[in-house]
Symmetry: C2
Subunit: 135 residues, 2 copies
C-alpha cells in the first residue's frame, strides 16, 4: 500500500488505537478518536471513555513523545484485511490555541462532538511515518 492510499484510509477512519510508553517503560494502548490536518494527527481529552481525568496517555507522551497509531479493519473475510500504522512524535498541547484547534477539527469530523467538543488538553502528532498492508 502506498502512502497516498495509507493516508486516505486513515483520514476516513473513525477510530485508531494509540500505543505509547509509560514512564516505567511498559507499553500502553488506548482507542482514540482523532482528526488529520496536513501532516498532523490530532486527538484530545474528551468526555468519553475515561476512567480518571488524569490521563495516562498524556503523562506517557510528556515523558516519551514517540507514539504509534494503528488503523485497521478486521472481519471474518481475511482476504479483505488491511492495516495502516502511523509512527510519529506527539506533543501535548495544553495551550488555548492547541485545545481550540483540536476541538474544531474533531467537531468537524465527528457529529458527536458538535454539542460537546473536547475541552481537555490535545495531542498533536507530527513527523508521521506511514506503513500499510492489505491482503
Amino acid at each position: 500500500m502506498d502512502e497516498t492510499e495509507a493516508r486516505r484510509r486513515v483520514a476516513s477512519a473513525s477510530v485508531a488505537r494509540l500505543a505509547s510508553v509509560r514512564p516505567d517503560g511498559a507499553p500502553h494502548v488506548v482507542a482514540i478518536t482523532f482528526a488529520m490536518e496536513g501532516d498532523s494527527i490530532w486527538f484530545a481529552v474528551d468526555h468519553k471513555r475515561k476512567r480518571t481525568p488524569a490521563l495516562q496517555r498524556l503523562a506517557n507522551i510528556e515523558a516519551e513523545p514517540r507514539v504509534s497509531l494503528l488503523v485497521d479493519e478486521y472481519g471474518d473475510d481475511w482476504s479483505a484485511l488491511w492495516w495502516v500504522r502511523v509512527d510519529g512524535v506527539g506533543r501535548v498541547r495544553a495551550d488555548p490555541e492547541g485545545i481550540a484547534r483540536a476541538a474544531l477539527l474533531l467537531a468537524t469530523k465527528y457529529e458527536q462532538y458538535r454539542d460537546r467538543p473536547p475541552q481537555g488538553p490535545a495531542v498533536e502528532v507530527t513527523s508521521l511515518r506511514w506503513t500499510g498492508w492489505s491482503a
Copy 2:
C-alpha cells in the same frame, strides 16, 4: 466493569490490538488474532497480515516482555462504547509444544485457521492485569 465481565468480553472478541516496545524504546502496535486459555493469552505468527517474516513484535518481546492488549468496540453510538485493556508479560514460544498449543487454540477459535493453522513462533502472555470501561 469487573474482571469477570472483562474476561468474558476479551474471550469472545476476534481481534485485539497489541502494543509492545521496540528495542530503541519506541512503541509499536499491531492487530492480532488470539486465544485465551486459563490465565494465558496466546497469539502466533501466521500467514496473514505480515510485511516481512522477521516480525518486529517478536523482537520487541524478546527484549522487553511487557505487552498491553486492547479489545474494544467502536461505533457511532458513543453510549455503547467499551474497552478492556490487558497488561501482561509475553514470552516467545518457539518450542514445539508452544507452537502446537497456540495452533490448536487458534484453530479451535478461528475457522479460518482450520485448514492452515499458524506455524510460526507463538507468544504466551501471562501475569494478566485487567482494566475495563463501558459507557
